[in-house]
């Protein structure tokens, strides 16, 4: 029986929420402002009715808010992991992308084993690793809240992290190169064990088609595509499942 307005927060709610946050998984604390009860909804949990629709929208937008549903008032506090944008390649495009991405709320990390490219002088104030992606990603694995853009043009450097990003179900995977370059890349990735469904998730040629004509404009196209992918998380997957 409800004790009416006046429930304290269940300590389990806080523990469960922090466990999700530590693991870089999204969660929403739903507080019923009528009786004060809190509960944790994890991404993918089924929530019925109007509240379920509001929860799904909150996971997409990341915006916390009050909602009215089923004749009650709820507060939805959304905890999304900080999205990571991992760029393979310390190239001209990355130099333009780094400040743009930071301003848009996607702090970026650049990985490129070629020390001539990956220099602090070329990339001041950027998280930069002049190492092989294999080594960096071992310590800091990709996940669903990571985006990966491979822009070196060099299969030796790009192919491994592309497969890692697909296997980790990154919310965005993009690869620089013409259609012809990409066709060859697809052959190599298939040989590495990547599935045709995973290949479909690669954005190639990289970036929204805005007619980008130079590295800075390509950076705008890539960032826009990353944002579009982030804000439509869960939508594309649902359409595919329903179609299947």
């Amino acid at each position: 029986m409800s004790s009416g307005w006046g429930e304290a927060m269940d300590p389990y709610v806080l523990k469960a929420l922090n466990a999700e946050r530590r693991a870089r998984r999204a969660a929403i604390v739903v507080t019923d402002l009528g009786d004060g009860r809190d509960r944790v909804v994890k991404e993918g949990d089924a929530v019925a009715g109007d509240l379920g629709a509001a929860v799904a929208k909150a996971f997409r937008t990341g915006a916390s808010s009050m909602v009215e549903a089923e004749g009650r008032s709820f507060f939805l506090n959304v905890h999304l992991p900080q999205p990571r944008l991992v760029v393979i390649g310390a190239v001209h495009i990355s130099q333009a992308l780094a400040p743009m991405a930071r301003i848009a709320g996607f702090p970026l990390e650049i990985i490129d084993p070629r020390t001539a490219f990956a220099s602090d002088e070329r990339f001041p104030d950027v998280s930069l690793k002049a190492e092989w992606p294999e080594d960096v990603l071992k310590d800091c694995p990709l996940d669903r809240y990571a985006a990966l853009a491979a822009v070196t043009h060099d299969p030796k450097i790009d192919d491994f992290p592309l497969k890692a990003a697909l296997d980790a179900d990154c919310f965005y995977v993009g690869a620089l190169g013409s259609r012809k370059t990409h066709a060859k890349r697809v052959e190599r990735l298939l040989a590495m064990g990547v599935t045709p469904d995973q290949i479909e998730r690669i954005n190639a040629p990289i970036g929204l088609n805005i007619g980008a004509a130079n590295p800075a404009e390509i950076a705008v196209a890539v960032l826009a595509q990353v944002i579009a992918a982030f804000r439509s998380r869960g939508l594309a997957g649902k359409t595919k499942d329903e179609a299947a």
Partner: protein, 111 residues
């Protein structure tokens, strides 16, 4: 194991969990609505223990004092409180947001 992705030493909800494990009484305050220019976004937390120690923020420092004293009541009674702050409420709270915004803060006891 501490997460490398959270700033655990400054994260209010991680701190509150630690206090709870230490057997302290804790209240959690949350910004649930804002109008006009508000210094901290909806969802921001201030956590308070029974001695008045606090971490996090619900405003730029304008109303934290009032939230903390209300939180001590919430810890004592176990009953959540809804607090409204803004320029229109100066007589009620004797504090206001200098920026001219208004905020609503929900305060609940942990456990």
């Amino acid at each position: 194991m501490p997460s490398k992705f959270l700033d655990e030493a400054r994260d209010p909800l991680i701190i509150a969990e630690g206090w709870m494990k230490d057997g302290k009484d804790v209240a959690v305050a949350t910004v649930i609505e804002t109008w006009g220019s508000a210094p901290r976004p909806v969802g921001s937390h201030l956590v308070i223990d029974a001695e008045g120690t606090f971490h996090g923020s619900v405003s730029g420092g304008c109303v934290e004092g009032a939230v903390i004293s209300e939180a001590l009541d919430v810890i004592a009674s176990g009953k959540p409180k809804m607090l409204d702050f803004g320029v229109a409420d100066e007589t009620a709270w004797q504090v206001g947001l200098s920026c001219g915004g208004r905020i609503r803060v929900y305060v609940e006891r942990l456990g």
